[in-house]
């Protein structure tokens, strides 16, 4: 039993040097080749964090779109007491969760956080985010290789980006 055995399929193939072309050929994952690499290795997804557009950030990070799921419970306040510190948490009953991310579309850089959930770690995360202004807060849960999402609007009267 090697450390690689517990990794999801995508990472194992990349690390063993199969290369992203092989991935596409296998037809196992229909990623855009660039994003396959981004999602499949352990590098900090710098480009995704730099995106000004939420959809672009998600595309760069995952290469697929998410479908809403009622198996995701997203907790966030109705009106943030201060946009600088907004407590947001997620829990889900979805199985085989590998990553969880939070996207705030109205922020200058919508991708706020990206969490990697190794096997044996619960798919529940609580964190505190900055919100520049009233926006949806979207949580994306990657489970079994597919993407699911939930969203809530959080009103912000005192912006969290120094406004």
């Amino acid at each position: 039993m090697t450390p690689f055995d517990s990794l999801p399929m995508t990472r194992r193939l990349v690390l063993s040097g199969a290369g992203f072309l092989a991935l596409a050929d296998l037809g196992v994952i229909s990623f855009h080749p660039v994003t396959a690499l981004a999602a499949a290795n352990d590098k900090y997804p710098e480009d995704a964090f730099k995106q000004n557009n939420g959809n672009e950030a998600i595309k760069l990070l995952y290469g697929q779109t998410a479908e809403p799921s009622d198996k995701i419970k997203l907790d966030a306040p109705e009106i943030a007491e201060n946009g600088a510190v907004v407590p947001v948490s997620v829990s889900t009953t979805l199985a085989d969760v590998t990553t969880v991310s939070f996207v705030v579309p109205e922020n200058p850089n919508p991708l706020a956080a990206y969490y990697k959930i190794p096997p044996g770690t619960m798919p529940n995360v609580a964190n505190r985010l900055k919100m520049a202004k009233t926006s949806n807060v979207i949580v994306i849960v990657e489970a079994g290789g597919k993407l699911y999402s939930a969203s809530r609007e959080v009103k912000v009267t005192i912006g969290g980006c120094g406004g």
């Binding site: 306040p77 007491e81 201060n82 510190v85």
Partner: protein, 297 residues
């Protein structure tokens, strides 16, 4: 606004009169020494009762000790956010710093503990007090800087991080203890109390607000984006880590920024009016628990 002010003072007067009648038979440290019938003789005991009753009546669903939590006692959505963050609050770092600073000896080898009763532990609820020798109100912040100066150190800023950290630590050691402010049988102490009260109810600044305008008349309401805290218990959580500041701030900091916010002229930290104001407000919150250091939006 003038109509509201008249309404407020009329309401205050009528409550005070009613409370004074009810409390009139209770012995007071002051009435025994002063001749009765003196014009405008304040009765802090009765006033404190009236003040408390006003808020308890205004917010019948709020437990008395909950008033120390300010807006969180009055707004559920905010309360939930506060409770979640309070599980592991960002002010932990300031609190730790305060404990460290408090224990760090001065160049002469002495520490803050040497300046305070009970080594400075669990005494925050006794501040401010009226110093009979000097004839003035001494606040905790003032006492800390005096301790420094008495031991050859230069004072720290009343609105800075070090003072906030020190008072945070001292408040923490008093958490849960009820405010226990004394007005001794001394005309000057009563004057300081009156002075604080006067400041509290006087309008000022471009917005022509008094402290009472926001904190007696409209607690729980929104002022722009903020939910106003009730004046009852308003200092129990001090010092406070404000999300807006991203740091811990002292009573001095809050008083000066409040003045700026109503576009008034902030006074010098620890000036007489501010110390008397703190005295007045703390006295009115006697019996309510110290909850500091606190967190606020």
């Amino acid at each position: 606004m003038n109509k509201a002010a008249k309404e407020l003072s009329a309401r205050y007067r009528s409550i005070a009169i009613l409370a004074a009648i009810l409390a009139g038979f209770a012995s007071s440290t002051l009435s025994s020494a002063q001749p009765s019938g003196a014009a405008e003789k304040p009765d802090p005991v009765a006033e404190a009762v009236a003040f408390r009753n006003y808020f308890v009546k205004k917010f019948p669903d709020v437990k008395l000790e909950e008033f120390v939590n300010g807006p969180y006692a009055l707004n559920q959505d905010m309360r939930r956010q506060w409770q979640e963050i309070d599980q592991f609050p960002p002010y932990e770092f300031s609190l730790e710093k305060g404990k460290e600073l408090f224990a760090t000896p001065f160049r002469n080898g002495k520490t803050y503990s040497d300046c305070f009763p009970n080594r400075g532990v669990g005494i925050r609820q006794n501040y401010p007090y009226f110093d009979a020798l000097e004839g003035k109100v001494v606040t905790l912040e003032l006492a800390l800087n005096r301790c420094r100066e008495a031991n050859g150190e230069s004072p720290v800023s009343y609105v800075g991080d070090a003072m906030a950290a020190l008072t945070a630590y001292m408040a923490f050691t008093s958490r849960g203890k009820p405010f226990d402010i004394k007005i001794p049988d001394d005309r000057r102490a009563l004057e300081a109390y009156q002075n604080g009260k006067r400041y509290f109810y006087t309008r000022r600044g471009q917005l022509n607000f008094s402290c009472a305008t926001c904190h007696v008349q409209y607690p729980g309401e929104h002022m722009r984006a903020e939910v106003l805290a009730p004046a009852l218990g308003i200092l129990n959580a001090m010092p406070i880590y404000r999300s807006e500041w991203g740091s811990m701030g002292t009573i001095s900091r809050r008083f000066t920024t409040c003045n700026s916010q109503i576009r008034g002229q902030p006074l010098e930290p620890q000036s007489e009016e501010y110390r008397d104001l703190e005295y007045y407000l703390s006295y009115l919150s006697n019996g309510l628990p110290i909850s500091g250091p606190g967190a606020r939006p």
